[in-house]
Every structure is written in structure tokens, then in C-alpha cells.
Symmetry: D3
Subunit: 239 residues, 6 copies
């Protein structure tokens, strides 16, 4: 695992999250005072993706013609290759591409390598190269666009596992990354267990509310739920 | 119906529109001097949607942390809930989200309520929350993006049935809103019957022209149609 | 053919390209010093499109109300109609729409005419009108968005076969235009044969690398390929 | 005064603010949980302006060719003219122009009228027309740009004294508007007296800190001020 | 003169314009149905500039590394150098830079050459290089920004005296270009005499209105002027 | 000095640069293959600034409400305070603010501290707070805008002396930063001496060319200089 010195997440955290959706998670983070936790920009390469894992980060800065050459890509110290090569099962690669979509952040071969290593997926606030090829690997990926240019056209891989921004949200190594058809939410690691539990409970409540609304219930008293609705929910839950 | 004091639309107006497409409608509005009538930004959540109805409007302004709390969402005076709760069959909710996609304008439960009330659909120039859940309700919806954050993260529902802008186009309550796979056109209510009729006629003519072009006819004299083409069209129409 | 005085491309150039992808082509152009060759913005109307052909160009400037009337559209001197009418099999129409998506650059009838003439496709850095209708013609098309407004709402067709910019890339008449699911690359005509050959070879090598990576090979020494990997590739190629 | 039913501000609130700057005010609002209070975009037409007053609001939506004609400008019900004509001494006109700078929000004659009525100034998140003429009236004004086109080119005055957004910040009629060389901050009316007092105190402290830093004091312990620095400040303040 | 085959402008047209401002000109063009005539983006390098002349145009497209080298800049066929070298007294160079400010469109030496040739000025919707040096030549210039990079970094001079767009407005060679402290308006050549006369008259009327407003007149009946105001104006004008 | 392990720059490098301008520097870097070296966005707070020094870098990422509190600003480990406190004479602080101007990157007290420590100036691709106060310190500063909100509103200081991007250009600690009225160029440290010398020579040549052009010389043969012009320049230089 690339991220050292982190306490493991409480058992079941990621599985609990899986029963919730990103909307419930953002609501629970909002209640804890984190108003902005959901990336603006990245969309799933395939809307059926659900991606959950722990963040390893990669940071890109603008490239420079004399440094970012094809020759330098093969060096073992290249942070992009170094980082991907060390990814462990359950990790999600989060790339700070400065929101620039004028080149791919990565392409199908790197995606295939992540897949082989058991990585949980990746997200970039830039573009991907050969989106169809990446999709074919089966690795969940989130990006703003597709662009065939190689990353060194505009990107220089500066370092890994620094605190970064991606899609306007701070990402620290070890944060929990959760992506679904809406996009990607970043859950601060220290809050992950609490948020997962609350979001799963909320999901259950919202499903109950939705059924009521579909059955003709008015919004007032139902959404947000009033006392009567909450009582009904508890009653049904017990049965 | 939320909009009071409006004369009903001439019978058949909406059904006539249904036989045309948004491209024909913008062309007919252009002829009447309305150059810009089609929203820039919103796309259908599902490309198979056709949405036709009368506009009720909802206006969002930037939220403020001390006003836009979860607690205030449940108040019966909240304009978002108030408006949606009163929607009638055939109405389309048009939301002025200032083009800001950093949070959802609404989510699946509100969509389910609109569906239950018989609303014709909605359009926002912001994002939607839980796009997949909204799609599952079957309610046609148009938005610029998906974003899981709750609307109060960045939006404050200010009022309803004001004149608003959405996707760069003025929308007045009662205007006819027509969405298809290209996006959404706004038809001023007073022009709706005239435009519907002209657009339906145009649609028929364009289908005729398209068949000619597919059969090898050159553009000159065919598109736009010259006298000969128009005569052929009339002849075929009669038969 | 609209473009006069050009030497024909070396035989097989376009067919060779067809065996490569746009990612390989941008890599080979990068090696020749052309860092930016891939358009930013245009996406395929259908991700299954592969479009290869020689560029004819059309240039739009902002329209003016007294010039850009429906009446003027039918004149034989209108550059848009003039250009499309003269397209030959294997040509790709490239439209400089200044990146403005507030109206369609063209619609289904013009697409049908191009299809009837055997054109290879089109690309605009603006929008298209009636995207579904264009898709139905079977003509490959690339655009940034859909918008139902007629082109004269914001565009004036100024001239054809000038050097233009599209999606941030210079396009000269006769350049080779190659689009796939990622988008569109522009290959300078004089480099097309060399690039096609190199990209096809690269495609073969990358497929080999990908299989190795899928089989568990580490990135170092494999991608970019070291001597050992290249030897294996040559060995396999011969067999 | 255009805004009815408001309690007067505590005596001296605006004068106290005048001894502070917009930076101190945003800091004090931040402490109260209002993270975003300062408009992004508008700059003073002249950097020497200090503008303090109570907000009256004007809301623009996209114009429509058949409604927004020169003829309609002269009607007494035109919200733009109606609002400006009723401005009272000490009021600031805040215009929601949707951030669109493709036409002026107002010009020199309307500025002259506001000046004659004793208004404290105006701010728009759009452009102004005849910026030099406005400057010549002496009325403080803040805008994003200059543009000579008349407002009806793109704007329709929809209503006045609604809650609006301007420069990304919610503005309610009666809020205190404070502009200086950095730009414009919006102070919620209910917080104005408290914020004014705290900001004025902060200004004094920051001036003290700045003198210490200019004299060579290190940041640590000085800014933010530690106990020793605060004691020194109190001591000096008493003397 | 670079532009051939044009009828000279009616005598006195440019001098009459000089007594008006760009705001009056846009108003008169609006009355003639030209809603958008004023460029969005370019600002004067010095706010005291008044620039009036006839347009010669220069068109930039994205540059390409193998074509846009320092060596090619010196060739007599380079459209940028060719065009500037042939400028005549009273001409204004209008450059279509696609709104891209990541390099200068021109710099001080080319401005000095235009000055020596008697040119009336220039406008670009890109940036200028060495803005201080250009200002020192005394040649009026309008641009969106300053940027020290040479034009070939991102621009390729494609041709001259084509119809272009600049700041979102169509410009045809021979159009009258009028810049003042607000920015730049484009007057179609065929309308220039009519517009100049109307704008000069309007300027006089607006000055009269402004004096009335400064003297305390209400907007209603004064601006736009009612019958009584117009009678007073006529009376005063005669005296 | 914050940057360790760097060879000192060759004596006189910075003084030589001072005789050139940023335009000459970008031209010489272009000749060495560095096409993009000049930041897009930052402008001098005062156009008379000339700023030359060696880069120390500070990196901001999006802030998070629970981390970026006023309390944490005072900690000695805060990278912003830590970095500024250690600045040495001749150093320039370069801040990667992700181009986000919705809060100040720094304000007048930090500028005063940098001034007291002998720093050469600062540049941010975000905004500054209390621009007038910063100007009053006399420290040269470059930014995209002014904004009164405190940096923690949107920024979290992540680390210092990492490789960063600023205004679209890669900046490495120790690079030479040169700002003048056009803006800021980044000179890779290893190229600084060579570029300084060449740019100074170029500046002399361009001054000679400018005088010739002002005296009526045509562009062809003069700019770029032909053999004859170069001979004249050499002759004059010797005398």
C-alpha cells in the first residue's frame, strides 16, 4: 500500500458505503459542516460504475518541452509510473490535472496495469486517452472528457501522495473516494465510518420516503420527514 | 394550476407541436423576430424524452450559510417545496439555477412528487442530484450535469412564477416549453398556436425535402425549396 | 474534389491509418515536433464512428442581422451550400465555428446531402442541429453539443477552403482528418503517409504491451518498452 | 426609501464601517459562519471610491426582441426607471446582471439621476455604458467591465427589491453594501451593527500589527497576534 | 490603401462620428436592427484614446510548430508583415485572434511602423506584447490583455482583408471602426454616414437631457424624452 | 535562503536581465524550444514594477471547513506563514492558487513582512486582499484580481518549494522570475545566464530597429533584421 502510517478504516466501512449513494453521503457530510465534498467535473466513463476505495494521489503541473520528453517517461523515478506500479487492491488513484482537458491524464495500458494490481479505480479532473480501451479493461474510471494527446503534452507528473485538489475538492491520501453515476464524493478518512453509517441509514429512510411520495404523499411532512413519517418508518423498519 | 389569469392555449396547440421538432420551432420563431429561443446548456437526462407543457418557474439565488440550513427545507413556505407541491398536470417546472452546476437543483424524491402530480417534466440550467433515480421515475428532465450535493449548498429558492432566465432565454410563467433530444426551446405563450401550426407544416416540408436530398437532389432549388420543389410538395401533399 | 492542386496521398495511407487509433497518431506527431494535433471539444455523435478523410474547410464568423436572413440562405453563392454541394467521396467537412455552441453549425438535411455525395463525415467546434436526424443519416459527425437554433442565428458562412482553426488546431485543406471515439486528430498532409505507417506499427506494439500488462508485467521495462520487451515483440511478430 | 418595513440600522453603523475596510468585514463575517460575502467580479470605476449604503435591488433577465424595444423603455412601469426614480439618500442600487458583460447595465444619465437623488452608489455584476460619463457624475459605481451597448440588447428589467444574486453573493433589500478599492462586500442587515463594530476594532488591531511587522517583528506571535502582542496592543490603545 | 473597389465614405462621415460617442452609435445601430455591434473584450491601452478609421483585417488561426518559426516571420509573404506594411493613413488594423490572450497579437515595433505609415490604430481580441512600448508610440490600440509571448507561439497569420470576427462582431474590410474609453464599435460601411449623423444628433440631445437630469428633472418624460422635453430641446437648439 | 542545494546563479545574471524586458526573454526562450514561459493572468499591482528574483513556491489546494479555521492560521507549521517567514533577500514568492480569484492569496501584513525581509516580490495566479495596502508597502506584486476574502475561504496552504504551476507555467524553486508591466516570465534556472545575455543583446538590437522604423524604414529587411540592418547595427554598436 502506498500510504503509510494510516490506521486501517473500521471494518465494514466501505461495504456500508456501498449500500448508500453519493447523494446521501454529501448530505451527511453537509450536516458535519463540510459543505463542498463532491467533485465538479468528473463523470463516470460508464454510468454503471460504482467505485469505492482509499485515495492515493498523483499531482500534475504544466509540462515543459525540455523536461517532458518521451525519453523521460520510461525512467523508474517518473512519479506517474512509480505511483501506479505500487498501487494495492482497494486503492483509488486521484489525479490533480488542474481541470485541463487538452490531453489525456492516462490511457488504456496504465488502466490495464491498475486493473492487474487490483486497484479500485481512478478519477482525474482532466481527460483520459483511449476512453474505449480503458472501459474495456473493466477498471472504473471518472474523467471530464476524452482526449487522445499523451499526458506530457500539457502535464508533468510532479509528485505522489501530496494533498491535492481534484474537481475543486481537497483530497488527502487515505481519504475515502466514492463514485457512482452522479460522479465522485471525497470522504475525509477520519469521518468515513460515521458518514458511512449515517448515509446508509439515510438511504433506507429516503427509499421509504420515495415509496410514500410515489404513492401520493405530499411533500409537507414527508420530505423532509415530520414526526409522523419518522414513526411510520421506524414501525416498518422493525417489522 | 399555479399560473393564474392566463387564457387557455388554443385547443390542440400542444398536440400540434408534438408533430414538430425543436429545430422547426426555432426556425419559425426566428421568422417572427425572436432570434434566441433555445436554451444553451440543458440536455435531456434520456435522449428519448419529448417534453411539452406550460412553464411554472422557480428562481434560485446564491445561498447563505445561516439561512439555507436543513431545518429550513421543511418549512411549508420554502418556495421550492411550495411550487412543486402545487404543480398541475401538463406543467413544466423551469428552474433558474444561474447556470451553476456545483450542486443539484433537485433530486429523485421531488421528481417522484412531480410525476405523481402529473407534471410534464422539468428543466434546470444547473445540475440534478441522483440522475439515475430521476430517470427511474419516468419524469422527463433536462439539466446541464449531475452533481450529488444538495441544492442548499449553493442555491436558495427565492420565489416562484417570476419572470426568469434559464439557459440564456427569458421564461415567463405560461410560456410553452418544448424539449427533445437537442434540448429545450421556449415559445412565448402568445405565439404558441401560430408557431405550432407553422412548425408542424415546416416539419412536413422538411421531411419531403430530406427524402429528395436522400434521393440525390442538389441543395440549390431544394433547400431552401425553390418554386418547383414547393409545387412538387403541394402536389404530393394533396395525393 | 474541392481542393485543387494537391498531390494525391500515397496509396494506402488512409487504409493504414484505419488500423491505428487517434492516440497512436498523436504520439507519432508529437515525436515529429507537433505537440498539439488533437481537437479539444468535438465528440462523436455516436461513439462507434471512425471517420477518415481529407479536409475541406468552411469558415464561420459572427452573423449580422441585416445580412444573415433566411432569404440569403438559398443563394447559390452562400459558401455553406456551395461547399457542401461540391463535396466528393472521401472528403471531411471541417467547420470553424469559433467554439460557439449557441446555434447549430448544420442540420440533418445538409448531412443527408453530404451522405448522398459520399462524404466521409464532418466536424465542427460548435453545435449541430437535430443531432438525432444527423445520426439517422449514417454520416459520421463530430461536434461539441446539440442546439436547435439555425446557424444564421450566430454564424455567417464567410468562405471555404481557407486555413482555419477548429477545436484549437490549425486545419488546412487537404489535411487528413481522423476521428474515433476519443475525438478528432488533424494530420498535416505532408506527414500523413509517414505518420500512418508509424502509428500502425505503434498500434501493434501497444497491443502487444497491453497483453503483457494484462498478464501481470510491471510497467518498468514494459511501457515504454525496454530492449527485452522490444525483442520479444519482434520475435512474436515474425512468428 | 424604496424598502418598506425595515427597522432602521442602529445609529452610527455606517459611520463605524467607514473606519474599517472590506477585508476586515469579510473576516468578521467569516467568524460568524458566513464564508462567502464578497462579490467576485465587480471593480470600482475609480479606485478611490468608498461606497456605503443600504441595498435596493434590480433584477435583469435575458431580453426578448419583441418586448425589449426602445419604446418600452419610456413607460413609467419599466422596473429599471421606476426603481432608480424612487431611490433615496444613502441607498445603493445592486443589479443582478447574471454576470453578463455584453451590454451596459446602465449609463451616465441614470447615474446622474441617482446622484441628484442622493444615492450612495451602485454595483452591477455586468458592465456599464459610458464609464467615463458615469465617473464624471461623481457617483461611486462598481462593475465588471465597460460596454457601450444599451441594456435592452441583452437585459430585461424584471422586477425590483427581490432577493437577488450579484457577483455570486445573495443580496436582500436592506442589506448593507460596502465597496472600496478591492470591491464590494454584502453585510446581512441583521448583522451589520455587530460586524461594523468588530471590523472597526479589527482594523485598529491590524494597523498595530502592521506597524510591528514593518518594524521587523516575525509573523509567529504577531499575526495572528499572540497573548504578548494583544497585551501590547491594549496597553498602547489606552495611552 | 489596402481595400480596393470601395466607394469613398461620404465627406465628413468620420468627423461627424468624432462628435459622438460609441454609446450613441450603438443606439442608432440598434434602431436599424443591428443589435450587436460593440466588441466584447477589447479595452483601450490608454483610456484617453479616440480611434476612428476604416478597417483592414488580419486573421489569425492556431499556429503549428513546424510552420510558425522565427525564420518564416521575415518572409515578405507573411500576411502580418505584408498587411501592416501596406496600411494607409486613416486605416485601422482589426485582428481576429480568436479571443486567445496566451500570446501578444503584435508588439511595439509593428505599432511603430503603423504609426509611421499614418494608420489610425488597431484592435485585437487577443493580447498585445510590450503594452508600454506600444503606448509610447502614440498609436491608439485596443486589446484584451498584455502578454509578452511572441504571436507565433499560438497564432498563425492566415490571410488579410477577409471577413472576420473580432470581439464577437463581424468585421468586413472598409467597415468604420470607432473606439473610445468604453471600447470599440463596428459600423457597417453602408450605414456609416447615416449612423454618424444620427449619433451626432443623439449626442446633442443626450447632453441636453443630462443637464436637465443634473438639474433635478425626473426620468419620466425626460429620458427617454417626451414631447415637452423634445420641444424644449428644439427651442434651445435654435437659440 | 529557503532553497537548498542550488548552485548560485552566475554573477550578474539578474542585473543583465534588468536591462532587458520580458518580451525579449520570451523570444530567447522560444529559440531554445520553450514555447510557453510567460504566465497568463497575473498583472502588476502597479505598472511601474520591475521584479527580478529567485522563486520560492507555495502551493494552495481547495480548503476544507474543518481544517481551514482561523485558529490553524497561527500555528508555526502553517506552510504559508512558515514559507514567508523564511524568505531571503532577492527571493520571489510564487503561489499556485489554481487560478481561483474568489479569495485573496495574501494581504498587506504578509506583504509587509516580505518587504521587511528583503524579498523581491510575489506573484499569484489568484487574487490579493487589500491591494491598496500591499501597494503601499512598496513590495512588487502580481495577481489576477483583488478580492477581500481571507485565503482560507477557498485556499489551504499545502506545502512549499514543490514544483508548481502558476498562470499555466511550471515553476521550480530557484527558477528566475521576471515581472514587468506586461506580466511575469519564468526562466528555468539552468538557462538563466544564457537567456539573460541573449535577451539583453536582443533588447539593444530591437531598440536600434525601432529607431529605424520610427524613421520610416519598411518592415522587410528591418524586422526581422536582414544582413544590411545587422551590419548597420554592428557598425553603430562599435562607435
Amino acid at each position: 500500500m502506498l500510504i503509510e502510517g494510516l490506521e486501517p478504516l473500521p471494518a465494514g466501512t466501505l461495504d456500508t458505503l456501498r449500500t448508500a449513494g453519493t447523494a446521501s453521503v454529501t448530505t451527511e457530510l453537509f450536516k458535519l459542516g463540510i459543505r463542498h465534498s463532491f467533485m465538479t467535473g468528473p463523470v463516470p466513463l460508464d454510468p454503471s460504475y460504482v467505485m469505492i476505495g482509499e485515495a492515493v494521489t498523483l499531482r500534475y503541473v504544466p509540462s515543459r518541452e525540455d523536461i517532458d520528453t518521451n525519453e523521460n517517461l520510461g525512467k523508474p523515478t517518473n512519479p506517474q509510473r512509480y505511483t501506479i506500479e505500487r498501487m494495492a487492491p482497494g486503492e483509488v488513484l486521484v489525479i490533480d490535472s488542474r481541470g485541463d482537458v487538452r490531453a489525456g491524464s492516462l490511457g488504456e495500458i496504465l488502466a490495464a496495469r491498475m486493473r492487474a494490481l487490483g486497484a479500485a479505480g481512478f478519477v482525474t479532473d482532466g481527460a483520459v486517452r483511449d476512453a474505449a480501451g480503458i472501459r474495456a479493461t473493466g477498471l472504473p474510471g471518472f474523467a471530464r472528457a476524452a482526449h487522445a494527446s499523451a499526458n506530457i503534452t500539457i502535464h508533468h507528473a510532479a509528485d505522489f501522495n501530496a494533498v491535492i485538489g481534484c474537481g475543486g475538492i481537497m483530497v488527502r491520501p487515505g481519504d475515502v473516494i466514492f463514485g457512482d453515476s452522479d460522479g465522485v464524493v471525497v470522504i475525509p478518512r477520519a469521518l468515513a465510518a460515521e458518514v458511512a453509517k449515517a448515509a446508509a441509514a439515510r438511504e433506507e429512510l429516503e427509499a421509504f420516503i420515495k415509496r410514500k411520495v410515489e404513492g401520493g404523499a405530499p411533500l409537507l411532512g414527508t420530505y423532509p420527514p415530520g414526526e409522523q413519517t419518522l414513526r411510520e418508518f421506524e414501525a416498518q423498519r422493525k417489522s
